[in-house]
Amino acid sequence: MATTAPKAGAFPSPYEIETPPGCEGWEEMYPYYALFDERRRDTDEHRFWFWNSMHFPMPMPAFDVICIDSPYQAVGAWQNRVFAVPPAMGIDYRCINGYIYISGNPVTDPEKIAERAGFFQERAGYYFQNWSELYGKWRSKMEALINELADLKVPDLPEYEPDEVAFGDDRNTAFYEVLDAYPRALRLGDMMWQHHFEFLLLGYGAYGTFVEFCKGHLPDIPDQHIAQMVAGIDVLLFRPDAELRRLARLAIETGVDGAFQQGHTPDEIDADLQRSDAGQSWLAELEKVKDPWFNMATGDGLYHYYRSWLDDPSIPYASLIGHISALNAGEQIDRPTEEIQRERDRLAEEYGSLLDEDSRAPFNDLLNLSRTVFPYVEEHKFFCDYWFLTRWWNKIREFGALLARNDFLDDGEDVFQLSRYEVASALDELVLTWATGGLPLGPKHWPPIVARRKEILKRLGDWTPPPAVGVTPDAVTDPMTIMLWGVTTERVQEWARQQDGGSVLNGAAASPGLVEGIARVVRSVDQIGDVRDGEILVCGSTSPAWAPIFSKIKATVTDVGGVMSHAAIVAREYGLPAVVGTGRATAAIHTGQTIRVDGSEGTVTLL
């Protein structure tokens, strides 16, 4: 990214950010290379870094740092070493007070760019030409990987090894099994991230090119119309909710809908259903749906906090209650797929016919290619971020439970307060002392560390990170930064202007409409339950798995994200105004404040 000498009054230097009171020593949670280190100050201070609040809206727990390293290893490998995107290598990250700032590495040498262009054209061209076939293989690879994860056993440490170890062939002792299973679990995660990014850049790039083409030739076209022309009809991501709607109808048809009372917990509802034959058959039907459709996450998956619907059924049950009461009120709850299909084709046809002769062929080609790549763009979230990742976190929880059973941790969940290296170290001592019968130090060593870090994370959660640090770039030229985060030159200039404060926030107009209402600032997924009917959701970013929230709120404002971000996609699906990528909505707005959201202009006014 092109940068110039530091300008006064823009973003703070990353080296001048103060540690919030009580958070001293936060650095110990993160790898040495993740910090703004004095030894790298000469370069780091002169770069532009923006807070990746789209993926990391909360301070990172020590273990969750693996979900920064692995994705950036994977995206860099594909972008820089496989496809060789000509002007942009990969993404560097740094951590300040637990929050993640990122910056792209540009390629500036014209000869190097030309050399990379040769690779890119050939390799990206191959993917685009063979997309459907390659993507078919990708789905098989992902399903195999998910099965492999399910099959990975986290062994216990027995008092005596079973007879098979003594008398059978090829049986390992538990110390080896534990030390083998843990790195394998980590490697399966790496493999998922590798798959995750195989198609992502090209998929987003093809779609992004279509978006730019439309905006060049039809400068006033609403973003929503572009998305409508491309969006899939039979989308995997809509299946979970479609199954819930089917179950809602079934509950009514079989007369068990009375169990779904507003305010009842899933356990209370289940207990109620168990009392009748019809209720039991309904529960049996629910069981069939759960795999795979309840592998939805309660959030975008980059933190261990996000559980799946299987772990926390309150979200699907809230949806069921909503669907059943809507159906009983005579409302239509089905996604009108035929109508969506008709409208999608009509829009494509009409816009095509309004273009001049020369533009029609590339319009149609780009549209068709966008439609080809879109299943991946939409579905990889389900396979990777939801299905795989929620199960993967649970696998790590099994190691946490092992450590907790042996008093290395007070609670299995505390495993996420240790880095992945510290977990390896704790497991090493655990199996060592299990084997030797010696006195472990772990139970004295780890719990105080965990307690301190939990306190630090809590305090860091109340700190508001600036949208960017370092120097303000003259222009944002990194195509990946623009494509994946919606961070454009205009956006950065807006952030810089807003450093002084102001009562109007600007972002991307992601879903049209104008509403006023009470803001509800949601910083983490466990605050979702606080959202009241008719409030405006203000958050770092959202994911489609928050669907039930979207039926409650009347608009959305996010800190980071472009018109393709999940908040934007879901808001359009629900017909709610949305402004995304404001940079500082969660900092500037507080819960209870009245705000006006103009999703057509991309502005949020604090009233």
């Binding site: 995107v85 090119t209 730019e212 609403p222 119309h225």
Partner: protein, 335 residues
Amino acid sequence: MTGYIRPLQRLSRSDEPTFGGKSANLGELLAADIPVPPGFALSTAAFEAFVTGSDLGQTPDDARANAMRAAPVPEAVREELTLAYTALAEAVGVADPPVAVRSSAIGEDSQEATFAGQQDTYLWVRGSENVCNAARDCWASLYSPTAIAYRARLAETGNAPAMGVTVQLMVDAEVSGVMFTCNPVSGDPSMVAVNSSWGLGLAVVGGEVTPDDFLVSKVTREVVREHIHPKDVQYVPDPGGKGAVRVAVEGDRREAPSLEQADLERLVEVARRIERYFGCHQDIEWALPRGETERVFIVQTRPVTAVAKKPDKPKPASAMSLIMSTFGAAPPKDA
């Protein structure tokens, strides 16, 4: 009737040399079933009879306008005009119906040179005597200082200037304005740009108010952008029965949107029909009658003369080369 006057619905493009662009265009619109207020047109022959009969041949250009306003309208023209006006009154069932009398110049409304605005328009004219006088004033406007200068700038060939006149039933507009069948600023062909304000069209066309500004999608009829401006003044028919008067817009209406979604949808519908009929982008004046704003009347239309071409409008390129440039991988030179 002899040849001086013809009802608008009997005119077409080929009558432009004898009836002028505005009248011919209105005839075309009627043929396309576009709602246009009824009326009739005076041919250039009426103008020529007037000039010949008034013996103005030797009057220098800059003195002509005044001389013309004092000269009598030829009896034959006057009789035909009175007949046509009476027929119009009978057709609409109103005695002395108010009409708009407008010049319909030869060469006006052509795509190359917009002559519009160089001649006068007389609104809310009632009674055949007043209509005759207004027609004469239109003719005289051909020699107004601005019209003379305009012709000089166009370096017109030696042909003597000639002019037709359009007489059209007046719509007492509750709302009126202009619309383009594209966004003239961005060049987007999928949008209709609508400007509107209260009362007769004068306020918008004459630039006396900042009109409400809407951008409406042709594809979905959604309002993509809107700016509602305070509208301080409007033109309404003079209560005395002659002409239009400028009055203040009262109270809440100043800040209120002058069009609603349903109005915009009807306007876009008509705009698309007009655009399809003419095959090119149109600049359209319209009016919604007082008390029945669900009706749309088109007062005139002409080709859009100046659409801002987007300076960075992308050059035609193949889909794959566009994707390559998204990633900063410019296509090979020979691609």
